[in-house]
C-alpha cells in the first residue's frame, strides 16, 4: 500500500514537471539568464554583440557624473509621473464615482466609451493626438480660441510638449476607471443603508464610506501607475522623438537610444538597473505609507 502511494507521488511529481516545463524553460531562458547577463553587462563596455571588456564601475560613474542626459531624462520622467499619476487617479475615481450609481441607465455604453481609448491606445491614436495638438489646425487650439485663448504650439514648444503628452495619457485611463469602479461596486450595500438611516448626506457617505473603502483599489492603481509611468516610451517617441530640445526625452528613451542606437549595451543595462532600483525604492516607500491611508478589513 505504502509503496503504491509513493509510486503515485512520483508519477504525480513527474506530471507536474511535464506540464510546468514550458514555464520552467521560459523562466531559465527568458528571465533568469537575462537577469544574470544584464548584471554582468553593468561592469562591461559590451557592444551590440554582447562582448566587451571589464570596466569596473565606469558605467555607474558615467551615469551619475558624466551623462547630462541621464539627469535630464530622469527629470522629465519624474515630471510625467508626478503630474500624470495623481491626475489619472483623481479623474478615474471621480468618473467611477459617477458610474457607481444603480439608477444610471446606459451604464454599458458609458463603460464602453471610456474603455475604448484604452483598448485602441497605440501608434494610431497617438498620431491622432498629434493632429489634435496641431498648433494651426488642431482641435484643441480651435477649442481654446472660443475663450479668446491663443493655444501654444504644443508639441513643438518645450514648455507644452510634456503637458500635451500627459493630457493624451489622461484620455486612456479607461482601464483605471473600470478597476476603480469594480472596487466601488464591492463595497457592501448595507453600509450605505445604515448610514442613510443615521441621516448621513451623500457627500458624507462618499467621504466616509466610499473613499476609505476604495483606498485598496486606489493603492493598486497608484502602484501600477508609478511602474507604468516610469516606463513611458511610445508616446514621446512617436509624437516628439523626445524633443523639442529634449523636453520629452524620457528615461526609457535614453535606455533605448544607448542600447539600440549607440550599441552601448553595458551602459544601457546599467541605466535599466538604476531605473529598476528607483522604481523599487519608490514602490517600497509608497507601500510603507499605505498603513496610514489604505483601509484593510483585517
Amino acid at each position: 500500500m505504502k509503496k503504491k502511494f509513493n509510486l503515485s507521488m512520483k508519477s504525480e511529481s513527474k506530471l507536474f514537471y511535464l506540464y510546468t516545463s514550458p514555464f520552467i524553460l521560459g523562466f531559465l531562458i527568458f528571465t533568469l539568464y537575462p537577469v544574470i547577463y544584464s548584471i554582468i553587462l553593468i561592469f562591461t563596455d559590451a557592444d551590440m554583440t554582447g562582448t566587451g571588456q571589464f570596466v569596473g564601475l565606469a558605467n555607474i560613474k558615467k551615469a551619475f557624473a558624466q551623462d547630462p542626459l541621464f539627469y535630464k531624462s530622469l527629470k522629465n520622467t519624474l515630471y510625467f509621473v508626478v503630474v500624470s499619476v495623481p491626475l489619472s487617479l483623481i479623474v478615474s475615481f471621480l468618473v467611477a464615482l459617477l458610474l457607481n450609481n444603480k439608477k444610471i441607465k446606459g451604464m454599458g455604453i458609458f463603460r464602453t466609451t471610456f474603455y475604448i481609448p484604452y483598448i485602441t491606445a497605440g501608434v494610431a491614436v497617438t498620431l491622432l493626438w498629434g493632429w489634435i495638438f496641431n498648433a494651426q489646425y488642431g482641435l484643441i487650439n480651435y477649442f481654446l480660441s472660443f475663450f479668446g485663448i491663443t493655444g501654444p504650439n504644443w508639441l513643438s514648444d518645450s514648455n507644452w510638449a510634456m503637458p500635451a503628452i500627459i493630457i493624451m495619457g489622461l484620455w486612456t485611463i479607461g482601464n483605471t476607471i473600470i478597476i476603480t469602479l469594480a472596487g466601488l461596486q464591492d463595497i457592501p450595500e448595507q453600509l450605505y443603508e445604515s448610514a442613510a438611516i443615521d441621516g448621513a448626506s451623500r457627500l458624507k457617505m462618499t467621504t466616509h464610506i466610499t473613499l476609505p473603502l476604495a483606498t485598496p483599489t486606489l493603492f493598486f492603481n497608484l502602484v501600477m501607475g508609478i511602474i507604468g509611468g516610469f516606463q513611458v516610451f511610445m508616446q514621446p517617441f512617436v509624437l516628439t522623438e523626445g524633443g523639442p530640445n529634449y523636453a520629452t526625452y524620457t528615461y526609457m528613451m535614453h535606455i533605448y537610444n544607448n542600447a539600440f542606437k549607440y550599441g552601448e549595451m553595458g551602459y544601457a543595462s546599467t541605466l535599466a538597473w538604476i531605473l529598476f532600483i528607483l522604481i523599487l525604492i519608490i514602490t517600497l516607500i509608497v507601500n510603507r505609507t499605505s498603513k496610514y491611508w489604505v483601509y484593510y478589513e483585517n
Binding site: L18, Y19, G26, F27, P34, G50, G122, N175, I179, A272
Partner: protein, 294 residues
Amino acid sequence: METNVVIKKPTLNHKSKSKVETFNLAISYVLLILLALVFIFPFLWMISTAFKLPSEAYILPPKLLPKTFTLENFIQGWQYADFTRYTWNTIIVTTLTTLGAVFSASFVAYGFARFKSRYSSILFTIVLGTMMLPNQVLLIPTYILFSKLGWLDTLKPLIVPSYFGGGAFNIFLLRQFFKTIPVELDQAAKIDGANSFQIYYKILLPIIKPALMTVAVMSVAFHWNDFMTPLIYLNSDQNFTLALGLQFFQNSYGSSQVQMLMAVSLITVIPLLILFFIGQKYFVQGIAMSGLKG
C-alpha cells in the same frame, strides 16, 4: 396624535429626498455625457478627417462633417507604404502569440492546479515573482540572445517567447479557474481511461473557455498595438508590423497628408473595435481579475 406625526414625517422627508436624488441623477447624467463626448470626440475627428479632401482637412474653422466625402485617402494612404504587408505581419504575430499564450499558459496552469511536487509551491512563487520583474532589465540581454540565434529582423523574437509559459499573469489567472473545477471530474475521467493530457484538453479546457477567451482578447489587443518589441527587433520594411509602418506618416501633419494618416490609422483601429465589441465581457472580466491581483 403622536402616531400621526410619525407617519407624516417620513413621507415629507421621502419627498424632498427623492427630489434631491433626481437632481443629483440629472447632474450625474450631464457630467457623464460630457465626459463621454470628450472620450469619443477624437475618434469622430479621426473619422471625419479620414474622409476629407486635402483642401478641407486644412481649413479654419475645422468642420466635423466634410463637404465632400472621399475614399481617396484610404486608397492613397494604403499605398503610401506597404500596408498590406504590415497588416499581414501583424495578423501573423497577433495570431501566433495569442495561440501560444492560450495553450502554453493553460498547459502550465493545469500543471500547477492539479499536480504537486516537492518544489511546486516555490515554483508558483517564482511565477508570481516574474510578474513584478522589470521588462527593461530583460530587454537588452534578450536582444543579444536573439541576435546570437540569428533571429534579428524576423518575426520569431516577437512570437516564440509566448510559447514558454504564455505570461505569468495568464498562468496565475488560468490556475485560479482550474482550481474552481472539482477534482472529482478528473477522477471520473481517469476511471474511464482518460490520461492526464486528455483530461486537460478534452474536459477541462472546454470548461474554462470563458477564461481562455479573456486571455485571448487581452493578448490580441496587446500584440496588435505593441510598439517597442517590433521597433527593437525589426529593421527591414518588409517585416514591419502596422504599429511600425504607421510611423512613415510621423511627420506628415504639416505636409498635407494628415487625411491619409487618419484614414490608415482608422483602418488599423477598426479590428480592435470589433474585437472589443465581440469580447467586451471578457475584457471586463480580465480587468476585474487584474485588479484582484493587488
